[in-house]
């Protein structure tokens, strides 16, 4: 039975694509991402190792323990995020509830599946790192075949404690998730904090990477005092330190076994107990009798039609899983992605293309503005489906007593507002991180907002034409084309003006004017087009 339950959990965790090609592409994407992570960690560690030795003889070993400990936490966090779906999935629980399977068996299978998830994540990250360490240290430093066997087994050992910790924090995470879920502003705030943290982290890693690539000294990034403190702290990285001690056959075998086994057992037992309690409470809460549930009655508060339309659009975009990867998560990630790309390109140009920049002074500004516009417009293009996103419910739009004009404007406001917010956040992150000039900031802001408005209006026209009941047309590709072409035209214009040595001020005024003209041309027939096309929409 346990195997069947594990198989069920595995099947549940898979995302099923509509075609084999998509499935293959998804797997290729995954392999590439993991490959990149493994490459980066192996590259950084192998480059870092001799430099760390310069600080102290145990420097590289301490850093290995630090990285392994951090990876243990990363693996635990990533498993916790996935474990919520394993433990608290309503549909799954409602099916399981009616099957003659003991609750203990269900919980055990879920905990075991969580453990296997942990092992897999940990294995991908730690095995290559341990192998690199082994190869770098060599036989002369006491690294034997036993160490490589240990390296393969390490994820299995370390995952006991991370699984235990996952099970302990899972109910808390689930509570926090349910608390944040209906609070979009809080979600955005947390997402923004996460993105800014990622930017800082990326900046640090990029600096480290560039230092290592240029074979420079690490003095600006790591100090001798830090290495000393780290050495003293490593023994508290339970159970990584103890496990590594065992793997390398160091002296305190019994103590290491006691600490690592003890901590793992405590975490696992406590975690299992908490998970059992939490799962049982979840079942009680979700599937108790209707009589007790009817007590929890909350009043429905009506809003004015405009507010309710905006709320509906918010639900259609932010609760739709189809938008997660194409819009909502990218919206939060946009500042980070823009920072990563612009930071890297700026670094490349400023270090290697000084001569080029001497002749084309505005090139960096133009490039930065174009990239910011491209990020914004490509992300925004996934919401250029104002009416298509209604799917079957498009008939509701047509029979409710609200004018087509009001409905369309409300449809445009939500994605426009969020895309604009993301654009402003991106610009602030870039400006605070000193990646863009003040001029680029303001031009990107003005052009970006107008570009988003043009795309919103054009998106509605394209969508209405696509949905026309009299003509079948597959023109949704136009949204993507527009979102790419408009920023590229901006770049082309600036480059052309630069080449023609037009003054900087005039150059940007013309660009902004062109955006204004585009918007006016698009908005003028808006009312007429909406009123004519609305009733002709296919249902």
């Amino acid at each position: 039975m346990l195997l069947e339950l594990l198989h069920k959990e595995f099947k549940e965790s898979q995302t099923y694509e509509s075609s084999k090609v998509k499935t293959i592409l998804r797997w290729v994407g995954r392999v590439l991402v993991y490959g990149l992570i493994v490459f980066l960690e192996v590259f950084i560690f192998s480059k870092l190792e001799p430099k760390l030795k310069e600080f102290s003889s145990f420097g590289s070993y301490d850093f290995l323990i630090l990285i392994l400990f951090v990876m243990l936490i990363v693996s635990m966090i990533s498993t916790t995020l996935r474990a919520r779906e394993i433990f608290y999935k309503r549909i799954d629980s409602s099916i399981m509830l009616h099957l003659p399977i003991n609750n203990d068996e269900i919980i055990f299978s879920k905990a075991l599946f969580t453990y296997l998830n942990n092992v897999l994540t940990s294995a991908i990250i730690t095995i290559p790192l341990l192998f690199t360490f082994g190869i770098k240290q060599g036989f002369e430093s006491g690294i034997t075949t036993k160490f490589y066997v240990f390296s393969v087994l390490y994820p299995f050992f370390s995952s006991f404690i991370s699984t235990g910790l996952t099970l302990i924090i899972l109910p808390l995470y689930n509570k926090a998730y349910n608390f944040i879920k209906p609070k979009p502003i809080l979600q955005i705030a947390l997402g923004s904090i996460l993105v800014i943290t990622l930017c800082i982290l990326y900046n640090y890693v990029l600096n480290l990477f560039m230092t290592l690539v240029n074979d420079a000294k690490l003095d600006t990034l790591i100090s001798g005092a830090f290495v000393e403190k780290l050495h003293k702290a490593t023994k508290f990285f339970v159970p990584t330190y103890q496990l590594m001690d065992l793997g390398l056959g160091k002296v305190n075998v019994l103590q290491d076994i006691m600490i690592s086994v003890g901590s793992s057992v405590i975490a696992l037992v406590l975690g299992y107990f908490i998970a059992t309690e939490s799962y049982t409470n979840f079942l009680k809460g979700e599937f108790s009798s209707n009589e007790s549930k009817t007590m929890k009655s909350s009043k429905i508060l009506l809003q004015n039609p405009t507010k309710t339309l905006l709320k509906k659009e918010f639900v259609l975009i932010f609760r739709n899983s189809n938008y997660v990867f194409s819009y909502t998560s990218l919206l939060i990630m946009q500042p980070f992605l823009a920072f990563v790309v612009i930071n890297s390109l700026n670094t490349l140009f400023y270090t290697n293309q000084q001569m080029f920049l001497h002749y084309y002074g505005e090139f960096i500004n133009a490039l930065n503005i174009t990239l910011i516009l491209l990020f914004s417009s490509i992300i925004a293009s996934s919401t250029m489906d104002a009416y298509s996103r209604e799917q079957k419910a498009i008939q509701i739009v047509k029979y409710i007593p609200i004018s087509p004009l009001k409905q369309t404007i409300c449809k445009m406001i939500i994605p426009f507002a969020f895309s604009s917010f993301s654009l402003i956040l991106t610009l602030l992150v870039l400006a605070i991180g000193k990646q863009i000039s003040v001029l680029a900031f303001f031009i990107s802001l003005l052009a970006g907002l107008m570009l988003l408005l043009s795309l919103s209006v054009a998106g509605v026209y394209i969508d209405l034409a696509k949905l026309n009941e009299n003509k079948k047309s597959n023109i949704e590709f136009l949204s993507t084309v527009l979102s790419i072409v408009l920023p590229l035209i901006t770049f082309g214009l600036i480059f052309l003006f630069m080449y023609a040595q037009v003054s900087k001020a005039l150059m940007y005024i013309i660009v902004i004017l062109l955006y204004v003209i585009t918007n006016v041309a698009l908005i003028l027939p808006f009312k007429k087009i909406i009123n004519n096309s609305f009733i002709k929409m296919r249902i």
Partner: protein, 387 residues
């Protein structure tokens, strides 16, 4: 039986002449022939039968007082007691001054002296009363009409789907709109509720045209689509809140309707707090039914509401339809379920090839309820035994 008339279309006036003497009938017919269409009866009995049958179309009765079987006085007494025909005006043809008071008491509007005076005077008297009656009658009827479809045409490219559909539904009526697949039922409903445009004609709901003022007209009806359609990402409550807010409802009115409908459709609060995507087909249909009635519409438009319903929800719907109509509201329903339509409807139209082929009025001819299935198959040229 085919219904190709609209209430507001100008029709020729119809006059029923009841007189045992053929010469009188001919004289009167000749006087009014340019303005009116004539029907004839030889005595009160025959006249009463014609009047009952053609009550909707007859605008005036010219009645002789002295006739062999049922005389004029007896005719007026019967007419007065029968509410369906009591309002149709009568001009009495008489030479007896003494009976005039009695005739007036029994509802006669005017008198034409025998032997007949000048034809111009007679025609003027007749037309004055007809015009007065028609003006009052049409105003009254318009006030009584919940839905009027007037000569609606709709085509998709070259394919004509609706070829001049005309009908009207009176307030408080349950009107069934039946037909086999692809004959224009759903297109008609889509046109009524503003889901689809139509090429020509007009649709009025409580006198408001869906073409002229769609927003105001849409507030007047509740609509249940054939496939239960709601925002799957919302909870049941959120969807009802969306509908209530969209219709600009007052909070207290919404609260009262919400509690009432929740009880009627037996929807627990816990279920309404769940996402609609997790609902069964029946649950979704219940929420859609609730949404269609939450704003308290006076006209309920239902497109195939029984498809895929389990017996429990079906019974709830049936009860709801009856209660809703009992409260004086109007229902326009399409369904494949002939048993349901024949059981609950007051009028049924069978549509074929974009036109109304037959309209049955069960209030006038209740015995035809049982006949609906046979008539249905007859319209499509198939015998019941073949199915």
């Amino acid at each position: 039986m085919a219904n190709d008339s609209s209430l507001l279309k100008e029709k020729a006036s119809k006059v029923l002449i009841i007189d045992d003497e053929e010469i009188n009938r001919e004289i009167l017919a000749n006087i009014i022939k340019d303005e009116c269409e004539c029907l004839f009866a030889k005595d009160g009995d025959e006249g009463l039968a014609i009047l009952k049958k053609e009550a909707e179309d007859i605008d005036l009765v010219l009645l002789d007082l002295i006739m062999p079987k049922m005389d004029g006085i007896a005719f007026l007494k019967f007419k007065k007691e029968n509410p369906e025909i009591s309002e149709i005006p009568v001009i009495v043809l008489t030479s007896d001054k003494e009976k005039e008071v009695e005739c007036l008491k029994l509802g006669a509007m005017d008198f034409i002296k025998k032997p007949f005076e000048s034809s111009e005077v007679i025609l003027a008297r007749i037309m004055r009363i007809i015009e007065h009656y028609r003006a009052n009658h049409i105003t009254k009827k318009l006030d009584e009409i919940a839905l009027e479809i007037d000569d609606v045409y709709k085509s998709y490219g070259k394919k004509e789907v609706l070829k001049g559909i005309s009908l009207y539904v009176k307030k408080g009526e349950i009107y069934g709109f039946v037909g086999k697949n692809g004959v224009g039922k759903s297109t008609t409903i889509d046109a009524i509720v503003g889901l689809k445009d139509f090429n020509s004609g007009d649709i009025k709901i409580f006198g408001q045209s869906i073409k002229d003022d769609p927003v105001a007209t849409k507030k007047l009806f509740g609509y249940v689509p054939s496939e239960p359609t709601a925002y799957e990402l919302m909870t049941g409550k959120e969807f009802l809140e969306f509908i209530g807010s969209s219709y600009g409802m007052i909070q207290s009115s919404f609260d009262a309707n919400y509690d009432f409908l929740k009880r009627k459709f037996d929807l627990p609060e816990a279920d309404l707090n769940r996402k609609i995507s997790e609902y069964s087909h029946g649950m979704k249909q219940k929420v859609c039914l609730m949404a269609s009635l939450i704003h308290n519409p006076k006209l309920w438009v239902l497109d195939e509401p029984t498809v895929g319903l389990d017996i429990m929800v079906y019974e709830v719907l049936l009860r709801m339809l009856r209660d809703y109509a009992k409260a004086g509201n109007t229902i326009f329903i399409t369904s494949h379920n002939i048993e349901l339509v024949s059981a609950i409807c007051d009028k049924v139209a069978i549509v074929n090839e974009g036109k109304i082929a037959v309209e049955l009025d069960f209030k006038k001819e209740p015995y035809k309820r049982k006949d609906l299935k046979r008539v249905f198959f007859k319209v499509y040229g198939e015998g019941v035994e073949n199915l």
